[in-house]
Amino acid sequence: MLLDFDDWPRDRPIEADLCIVGAGAAGITLAREFIGSPLQVCVLESGGETFEPATQALYDMVNTGLPRAPQSVSRIRQLGGSTNLWAGRCAPLDPLDFQRRDWVPRSGWPIDRDTLAPWYARAVDVLHLGAPVFDHRLYPLAEEAPPRFASDKLALRYWQFSHSLVQPGNPVRFGTEYRDELARAKNLRVFLHANLTDIDTGPQDTRHVRGLTVRSLKGNRTRVRARYYVLACGGIENARLLLASRATNPAGLGNDHDQVGRCFMEHPRGTCAVLRGAGMARLQELCRHHWVDRGGERYVFLTGLRARPEWQRERQLLNCDVSLVEHEVPDSGTRALERLLHHRSSHQGEDIWRVLRDLDEVARNAARRYLDHKPPRIAAREITFECHIEQAPNPDSRITLAAETDALGMPRGRMHWQLGELEHRTIAAFTRSLAAELARLGLGRLRIADWVLDGGDGWTRGVQDVAHHMGSTRMSNDPRQGVVTPDGRLHGTDNLYIAGSSVFPTAGCVNPTFTIVALTLRLADHLRGRLRREAASAGRPAPPEKAHAPA
């Protein structure tokens, strides 16, 4: 059920078996896994069902690092979290992303891609993707012939777009998509306007979390007591909450080795090159949207170009990929017809003339759309290449606490995002390889952006953050190198877990949500296993095993 915490009696404790803090992609995925089980689950969400500026202001931070996008466009404090503004692009991390790479300091996950594969498969259902396919197996699904593309430096990147079943044309926005399911669940209470302000481990022993302090902006407060707690507040807040829980350790909870908040990573993105003239049409055919129609729904896939793992190894560089941004000719007949059909044309005479002038193109696209069920092809006046770069873990790129406090008296976060020389070398080398390979294959001649060629620190002016917040509570077997165990449990505690991209040891270069959901499903299975073992020993009802849970 959904409850407003402001309606809850002040100081009346909330008790549960499992307490999940945060109702974004990770929090809601985890909560759904326990619906219908004999466990009592509570979810604490700071926001309401709609955007509230006062709640959002709790996210305000002090920035001492590279310039970043405003908080209002990078994360949302509301039921559904930042999925309220995401674009829905999904892909799994590449196998090399999980591996230890000698040339990438602090690289290597304690799990590999094959280990995560079963949960990636389940994440497909949560995010309503078309199929668990992120490679050339797309083409038979889309009823297309696979393209001929042979390069020992580049390979095709395959993304899919999350697909809402309740809001057509949108990705899955967790707060909307799963709202009714959460509201109906009898063993689940979602408290809105409930802000975690302290994690209490007692004065002496930090191993066991005894409870949480929860407050609302309207002045309500209480404690939550649960057997297990999961922080699922996003890649910045997870670290901030640990750092701010310093009753026992002034450095913050779980921060005995000064790891919390370090190695904050983003996916620097920038326009690295432009293509005009010859080759554009062939490249558009290679890297483009694909439609897969299944069960009355249309699923959208996208292809781009990525650095091959061999290229990364040989050159000792990071992962990197590009997607194409097609800048269409401004007066295409197909677009004119779309405006006319949807009553959006402000110059009907001109649009009718454009349709008649481009009748061949219009007929071809009509056949593509309605007979072949393919996206239309519009000529481009230019194509720009949007690169996404892996950021290497860097302890100096970090989140700490500022002296300023928010409306609840919590220290604000201080963001010090840094990029290094390895990221610059990666994008410079990748763009050169891209230019050379496209020229060799007759796919066009690139013009490389100035910032890519910048020999000094000025290159960072060409990139921006993309609200992918990762690494601040990284996963490691070694508590001196990370914050959580491979299962997501905070090192040094026995009942506090962390979910979300803050646990990523390295970032890869693809959008993180698909991996967030997969890791959260894995965490759900882990918790289910612990709870079953506990229940068996105590003679209590146990949560059922999920049908797809790997052994």
């Binding site: 010859a278 050169r432 230019a435 001649r445 013009r447």
Partner: protein
């Protein structure tokens, strides 16, 4: 002065197909009408003269290639092979962001001086 888009695009067809058809006439080993847009050619050559790097190392190989002689299609084939080899090994020259192979850059220098 940066190389303009117009100048570079004017040269592109020649760069993509270095020895155009049977009209090509060897002139000092290089077809005289390789680049019909002389202004574009001179602009690019001027920028190349100020472009540091090792790209000039390809000049002797290019000269040797051109001196082999043969029919224009054979010459074109050899040049295209050399350029493809440059792409494969990323022997590139970047002028105001535009990307040329080293062989192409040497070809421009030769054409501009011819």
């Amino acid at each position: 002065m940066p190389l303009s888009r117009r100048h570079f695009l004017a040269l592109l067809p020649a760069l993509l197909c270095p020895l155009p058809d049977a009209q090509a006439r060897p002139a000092g080993g290089l077809p005289g009408d390789l680049f019909r847009d002389r202004a574009a050619l001179q602009a690019l050559a001027g920028r190349l003269r100020r472009t540091p790097g090792h790209w000039r190392r390809r000049a002797p190989a290019l000269a040797a290639l051109l001196q082999v002689g043969g029919a224009p299609p054979e010459q074109r084939h050899r040049l295209q092979g050399a350029i493809a080899d440059d792409w494969r090994h990323e022997r590139l020259v970047v002028v105001d962001g535009w990307v040329l192979s080293e062989t192409e850059a040497c070809l421009v220098q030769l054409a501009a001086g011819s």
